[in-house]
Amino acid sequence: MSQFDRTGSLSTYVLLFCRFLRDHHFIIGPEEESDSFRAISHLTLISEHMFKYALKSSLVKNHQQYVKFDSLFEAFRDQYRKGVDAKERLKPETPKNKRPVIRNIKSWLSSDRGDDKLSLASFSAMHVSASISSVCVPDDDLAELKKLIERFSEKMENAFNRRKKYLPRGGPLSLRTTLRKSMKHGGEIIQLYYSVPKKNNTQLFLLCDVSRSMDLYSVFLITFIYAFQQVFRNIETFVFSSRLYRVSGYLKEGNFSKAIEKMMQEVDQWSGGTRIGECLYEFVSGYERKIDSNSLVMILSDGIDLGDPALTKEAMKRIYRRAGRIIWFNPLAGHKDYQPETRAMKAALPFIDVLVPLYDMESLKSMVSRTKRFKKMV
């Protein structure tokens, strides 16, 4: 590791590298830094490969980081060799034609649209402040949205299952189960059993299109997916444009602004082109073991796509085979003359159980009131 002799010690190098990774959205705290030092201290002969692997084992925490790590390691090494100050210069590069992520999402949320457009189809009950530091949605609006989604959730839970389960605590006493279970103790009643309604373990997957064509509905959609994640317990949320991002972890944050802030750090493809097929395929390949007949897959997209419709068809087919039902929320479907004529919609249509218009609070209310109908239709 001759480069250390020229420009600093091994510990400085590791610390600067940790900062560099932090700039690239790795979650690295003092514990990870200390782990990386401990890992290196256990190596007797440090070759560059072993050095890299030791850092990789201790600093990487998920597959996404695992994939990025090698190129970041090389980029840092090259910069370091050139003697560039790591703290100042090694921040993530922003391509000239690409706005920084934080501004991108702000404009996606509101500023790049004309007011007339905004009044046409965005979430009229809400006011969005596009200040640089935070995105604000009034608490009342969020609460109203959550209440609606809670109603949706209750309907989903209650309408499906009338089965009971029997537990040592809970609802009314079940004499039959108590006697049955006492058989193994020679008829001696040791435990009383009570009947409790069996909860439906419906697993939800919500995939939201955040490409440019969806800009008009952005305020509503981002609040919608946040509220959904907050209300439902078994839900995985993804956003996609030309890539798929899992954002459930960020949306679990109790504070809306903080949740959006965290999401911004990860997702760098807001308002880009759409590749629905590729993203749905990535989703079904990664989560197919989790999708079963108890799963409800909800896709929120206008179906305007640049990708291969054959791939959309294949991905939808795979989801359809596994999932209990597929609901496609399409903001355009609310228009009286709407026809699902886009390539992606045509490809996906045979596999959609319910196609629902969803673009503002009113359409959400209408959807919730029709929830029972979804079930009968499926």
């Binding site: 990870e32 401990r38 256990h42 072993m50 692997y53 597959h63 995985e236 073991r289």
Partner: protein, 297 residues
């Protein structure tokens, strides 16, 4: 034991156990042992994640304790349970012994009535074991949170008897197929390793290691074919375990080359979905051309 282990010795031990490793795998295992940190291994199904823990236990000449996770896995399946039947029997026997209620209660909540489940077994084991927590992504988030506590404090509290502290911190290997994202908190407590499908040379070496006596060219043909099959869009991409099963089956049937009939008749060994079988059957000609492993007719 921990002090005597070196990186080279880990690589040699793995090799001795017939596990074809690479520097990243050996180093991750080595650091996990040295730093007493759990190793989280992610990767597609069938790439040998579970095998690592088994091999490690054999290599360290210690016991493997396995906790297979599933949806609904709870405290009682993972830590301990009281042996109710035995307690009841004991109470019946002791009915006329003249012991007081407190004494009898103390008796029945003692260690001999405790059924140790994997986590408790691991921390109270006589020698430092390897604890395999398999497919953690299948367990519920509540269980994951509970596991965090065990993995950081290495102690378990049993309300009736008190707190049990670990006599040895076990070597912990967690595996996940990434069907659900694990929490950041759990990830941050672990070292991380991702194992992907092996490349051609590694796959060939694994087949040769696991199927002794197989011809080198034949092993290569199987590996080439499997590499091409993985490029197709399949419901269930076959892993290295399927390659080994296939190679073993072909060797059992005394085949020493691949041809169209052999492949068609044995596709069920490597593919577990009828649509995948249909997809591969329809692409066989193309696969023949790509792999070049079949004799031209």
């Amino acid at each position: 034991m921990k002090d005597n282990i070196s990186l080279d010795s880990i690589s040699q031990m793995l090799k001795k156990q017939g596990y074809i490793s690479d520097p990243q795998i050996s180093l991750s295992l080595f650091l996990s042992i040295k730093m007493d940190k759990p190793l989280l291994i992610e990767g597609p199904a069938g790439v040998g994640k579970t095998e690592i823990a088994k091999v490690l236990a054999n290599a360290l000449d210690t016991d493997l304790i396995r906790l297979q996770c599933f949806e609904g896995l709870d405290f009682f399946h993972a830590i301990y349970e009281w042996n109710y039947q035995k307690q009841l029997l004991h109470l019946k026997i002791e009915e006329n012994s003249g012991k007081s209620l407190e004494e009898r209660e103390e008796d029945i909540f003692s260690e001999k009535f405790l059924l140790k489940r994997p986590l408790l077994e691991a921390i109270t084991h006589q020698v430092k074991p390897v604890l395999l927590i398999d497919e953690i992504d299948r367990a519920d988030e509540e269980f994951e949170s509970f596991l965090l506590e065990v993995l950081s404090d290495w102690q378990i509290t049993i309300p009736e008897t008190g707190t049990v502290k670990a006599s040895h911190i076990p070597n912990v290997v967690l595996t996940s197929n990434r069907t659900r994202e694990l929490s950041e908190a759990l990830r941050r407590r672990c070292m991380y390793l991702y194992i992907d499908h092996p490349d051609l040379e590694k796959e060939k070496a694994i087949i040769r290691e696991k199927v002794p006596g197989i011809d080198e060219k034949f092993a290569r043909d199987i590996a080439v074919f499997m590499q091409e099959i993985r490029k197709l869009r399949l419901e269930k991409t076959p892993g290295i375990s399927e390659s080994i099963d296939w190679a073993k089956a072909l060797a059992e049937l005394h085949f020493d080359h691949l041809d169209k009939n052999i492949v068609q008749n044995t596709l069920g060994i490597i593919l577990k979905d009828w649509q995948d079988i249909r997809e591969v059957q329809s692409s066989l000609t193309e696969l023949y051309e790509k792999t070049g492993v079949f004799p031209k007719v």
